[in-house]
Amino acid sequence: MSPFLRKLGALLGKDAADLAKNPTMVLCVALPVGFALFYRFFLGDMDLGSALRDESATPVVASAVTYVVLSMGLCMSIGMGASMSLVYGIAEEKEKHTLRTLMLANVTANQIVLAKGILALLVTVATEILCFLVSGAPFSLFLPYVGFGILGAIAIILLSLVAGLASRDQMTAGLYSVPILLLALAPIFGSYSSDISNVVRFAPTGGMDALLHMAVNGTLTTAGAMVPLATTVVWIALSALCFSLLYKRLLRDN
């Protein structure tokens, strides 16, 4: 194994162990799963949910409930798992000079950032899968759900890396993480009105949410997927540009 990969493996292991030992981070990961479970049974207690248990319930009602639970699971997994854990995690390391110790121990900035990004993606995907398992959604949606979840998480992870590196300490991280969290959760607010929905579909996770909506309704077509996919790709490109312009300067300040 090359030295680069060995160091990357060591950093991944250390970050994963750190995350598992940090109660705040564990809560960030557990919260979306808890919400997915809550929403499933909360809706199940409503008349709408009763209709779901009835075999004669219309497929439209069933898919609407499934969409709400899955959409919320994806948005919260990305918002909490990717953005919160990354921004607070990096800020804590900056505050305690852990990043500097690593960089003075012959570890490159690329290795540190790559390890954090990969772990955030893995944690997000794991949380998304747990949300799916507790949602009661049909397994035919599993692969598209995970695929859309990964697509939607990339831009948020890149933006969270920038916000984490820009944070001087955990107090500043609290401030910087809010807009990213709101961006990640934006599609949830879209269900309140069509006006909000028209705006949030252009959010970083808006494309992902639209694709999920189509997949749940069984209306996913290549032509219909073009705009949501383009929205997601544009956000990924913009986030990557922002990240590549800022991250070296931000690491130098550490």
């Binding site: 493996g9 750190d18 804590e92 000079h97 012959n106």
Partner: protein, 302 residues
């Protein structure tokens, strides 16, 4: 300062120990970082922190992986720096001294060619100081170049290499060349002798037997009594002349030690000797190589 670090440490491969301010220390670190190139380097900074959720063992195993060493190296470092009993302790619960030892254990895993330390001996007890000085000497003999920064000059002089001290932004070499000894051994002769020192606005007259050692730093001479330093207007030569009759010995150009207070003599490299005192701080003083021979002869030590 930057030029000194680059010329002496990076190009010349000579270890430097700087008695200087924190700002000067930061500049020295940046200069070393910029000039280190592809050399393996290890850094120990005062502000090093974090890794609070790691145990001592998991911390060293992690850095052993980064250094591409087997986990057994982490275990060896645990033993070498006396951390075996704390292997399961969280890093956040270690004392300042244990954290310093852990930092040295971490650096040892990288077998560094260049090593930068901020106040390396500051938080260490005499036993830990011996462990660290032994490691520094071992690495020095193996070719590692050390750059240390901090205070006091006494600590800088304990380590192998050249010591410098800062005055008005300039770094001046702390002279260590030998002077010709004066006359032969001075006969034991009891005379009334008091050393005048300042303590705030008062002048204290110290009995030589109370003094642990005399230290010269930044052009001021100090008498160390029960762990406190008192400035005196007398020159080192005057003090040497007066105190030698009371069992004091000029162990270094900048130090005169009360030999009665010497607990042990430590030797880390062929040219590095330290005297460990039994005073309140268990201080360590440098002993020049030439003066070590003279001391042995004068006091009849084998």
């Amino acid at each position: 300062m930057e030029a000194l670090v680059e010329r002496e440490a990076v190009q010349g491969g000579r270890s430097l120990h700087l008695e200087c301010s924190r700002e000067c220390g930061r500049r020295a670190r940046r200069a070393l970082q910029q000039a280190q190139g592809a050399r393996r380097a290890a850094y120990f900074l005062e502000e090093d922190g974090g890794f609070d959720r790691d145990t001592v063992r998991s911390y060293l195993r992690f850095f052993a992986r980064l250094a591409q060493m087997p986990p057994a190296e982490g275990e060896r470092a645990l033993d070498h720096f006396g951390l075996r009993d704390h292997s399961r302790t969280l890093v956040s619960r270690l004392s300042a001294e244990q954290k310093a030892l852990l930092a040295f254990a971490r650096m040892s895993l990288f077998s560094p060619e260049l090593c930068f330390c901020e106040r390396p001996l500051a938080d260490l007890s005499p036993e830990s100081r011996s462990l660290v000085l032994a490691w520094i000497a071992e690495r020095f003999e193996a070719g590692t170049v050390f750059v240390t920064v901090g205070q006091p000059l006494r600590e800088a002089l304990l380590m192998p290499g050249s010591a410098y001290w800062e005055e008005e932004g300039r770094l001046l070499p702390a002279q260590v060349e030998e002077e010709e000894p004066d006359d032969g051994p001075v006969p034991d002769e009891v005379r009334v002798c008091k050393i005048a020192v300042r303590a705030g606005t008062a002048t204290l007259l110290l009995d030589p037997r109370e003094i642990d050692f005399i230290e010269s730093a930044n052009r001021v001479n100090y008498a160390s009594v029960r762990g406190e330093l008192y400035p005196t207007a007398l020159s080192m030569d005057q003090l040497d002349e007066q105190l030698s009759r009371f069992g004091f010995f000029r162990c270094h150009r900048s130090f005169i030690v009360n030999v009665q207070k010497v607990l042990r003599v430590e030797r880390f490299t062929r040219n590095t000797f330290n005297l460990v005192l039994s005073d309140a701080n268990r201080s360590s003083l440098p002993l020049s190589k030439g003066r070590a021979e003279e001391m042995r002869e004068r006091f009849g030590w084998k």
